[in-house]
């Protein structure tokens, strides 16, 4: 564990029956926003749940803020500084947004009513639900409900934020606002968010971890992930046979990712290209294993 790491998972293994969801995963989180990428079934949600102490691993350790989270006392200490938004949040539909976040605040041991109400108002303002805080959750749209879940995670000013696919269902404007909020939070806290939207990672994350088949395939900054694809992204007038992925862009040429033929017109790779090639490189190893 380096000096700047706030939360460390070491050698995390989680098995469900015969499926290995996480296989010896070691990840360290620092202050700032870390993105978690990976295909479906890679173990992202499992990793997040272990970190959020919703799930106990078969082996491995979680250390957060200097305390081991393996025993009950450590878990309690971690939970007091944790904000968690699960992939499918459940609500009490009859509660208003304010009441629900207030309820969660009570569960986070904020027993002073006045301070608690002020805090709830604050987080609802941060997620942009000021004017809807009196509406019943039943009456809110999917995107707004996600924001309520985010507010519930933010209440109490946690030092560690664990967000599982928080931008699903948000329109572009909402997603921008979300990035603003998270970026602001990341300045003082550790945030781990899993997402399918690589633009979020590019825009927000100082660090990105790629999970595939229960193992960490990449752990570094977004630029590094994009660099994986350097020299392997090119354009051509027609669809080539050797490309992994190829599509016709709006400009009329084909953008190809894969093994570039000699003399091809290379272009600057994006994070997605790197991600794609990373998984592809890992795949033969999987088949062999």
């Amino acid at each position: 564990m380096t000096a700047t790491q706030t939360v460390t998972l070491s050698d995390m293994t989680v098995r469900f029956g015969r499926t290995t969801a996480l296989d010896g995963v070691s990840v360290g989180l620092e202050q700032g926003v870390t993105g978690l990428l990976g295909p479906n079934g890679a173990g992202k949600t499992t990793l997040l749940r272990v970190l959020a102490t919703a799930l106990a691993p078969d082996s491995g350790t979680v250390r957060a803020f200097g305390v081991a989270a393996g025993d009950a006392a450590g878990r309690l200490a971690l939970r007091r500084r944790l904000g968690y938004a699960p992939q499918e949040p459940g609500f009490h539909l009859r509660f208003t947004a304010f009441e629900f976040v207030d309820y969660v605040a009570i569960l986070k041991e904020m027993t002073d009513r006045r301070a608690r109400h002020a805090e709830v108002r604050r987080v609802l303002h941060e997620v942009g639900l000021d004017d809807r805080r009196g509406s019943r959750i039943r009456a809110l749209s999917g995107g707004m409900r996600r924001r309520v879940a985010l507010a519930a995670a933010l209440v109490g000013d946690p030092d560690l934020l664990v967000l599982d696919e928080p931008t699903v269902g948000l329109d572009p404007e909402q997603r921008l606002r979300f990035r603003e909020t998270i970026a602001l939070l990341g300045e003082r806290r550790s945030v781990l968010l899993s997402t399918h939207q690589t633009e979020d990672v590019t825009a927000l994350c100082a660090r990105v971890v790629v999970l595939h088949g229960g193992r960490v395939r990449f752990d570094g900054d977004p630029a590094g992930l994009a660099a994986v694809a350097r020299g392997r992204v090119w354009t051509s007038p027609d669809r080539p046979a050797t490309a992994l992925a190829s599509w016709r862009t709006g400009a009329g040429v084909h953008r190809n990712v894969g093994t570039a033929p000699a003399g091809a017109e290379l272009v600057e790779p994006t994070l997605e290209d790197g991600y794609l090639l990373l998984l592809e490189d890992a795949a033969p190893a999987e088949v062999a294993a």
Partner: protein, 222 residues
């Protein structure tokens, strides 16, 4: 700290509990007692059956007490799940006591003291408590999100029906005049104890000790 949290939770929990289902069961229980009491005269074993059916109705409604759609979000709070559930049960207990007392009083008032005085009300109350505890325990074990209530309701119904099946030496449901009455109610008290233990086990921190956790959940698909 926990005590403060428990007190502060009272109001939101009061609003979060699906009272309609609970009340439906309680109401049916009262009707099941009141209607025969005002219409007919029964022997003690007839009244015992009426009270037992009312207890089953109440238990079926009470099984929905623990249904908590926000369970997934609130499971990792510093406040343990057992405390949240205990607050719900604590809210319910005085209401249940009032309901059972009301049922007994209604029986006495409508059917007449003569018919009711011979009944072993203590034993029947033990059975009612056991049914309620079993329903809530099964609901707790089945999980909090949505299926808990239904599982608890069907489970306690099945349990009550099965309890009537065993023949003489193993019978759990006896007529009031039966000499084995007191002994059998020792068994019912055991049921209450087992239900309490199950409730405590079901409220365990899911972050601790994986094995039972695996038995009750499917692996989540990312």
């Amino acid at each position: 700290m926990r005590a403060h949290v428990a007190v502060a939770l009272l109001r939101p929990t009061l609003r979060a509990v699906p009272w309609i289902s609970v009340a439906a069961g309680a109401l049916l229980g009262l009707i099941l007692v009141a209607v025969p009491a005002s219409l007919v005269e029964l022997e003690p074993r007839g009244w015992a059956t009426v009270l037992r059916l009312a207890a089953v109705a109440g238990a079926v409604g009470a099984a929905f007490l623990l249904d908590d759609p926000a369970d997934r979000t609130t499971v990792v709070m510093p406040t343990p799940r057992l405390l949240r559930r205990a607050v719900r049960v604590a809210l319910l207990l005085p209401l249940l006591a009032l309901w059972w007392a009301a049922a007994l009083l209604a029986l006495r008032a409508l059917a007449g003291a003569a018919q009711v005085d011979g009944l072993p009300l203590a034993g029947l109350t033990v059975e009612a408590v056991a049914l309620l505890a079993a329903a809530i325990a099964i609901a707790a074990l089945a999980g909090g999100t949505g299926d808990g209530g239904v599982t608890g309701a069907v489970g306690v119904l099945a349990g009550a029906l099965l309890a009537c099946l065993p023949p003489r030496p193993y019978a759990l449901v006896l007529e009031p005049a039966d000499p084995a009455w007191d002994g059998v109610h020792g068994m019912w008290a055991l049921v209450i104890a087992a239900a309490l233990i199950a409730f405590a086990v079901a409220g365990r921190d899911p972050g601790a000790q994986r094995l039972t956790h695996v038995l009750f959940r499917r692996p989540p698909w990312q």
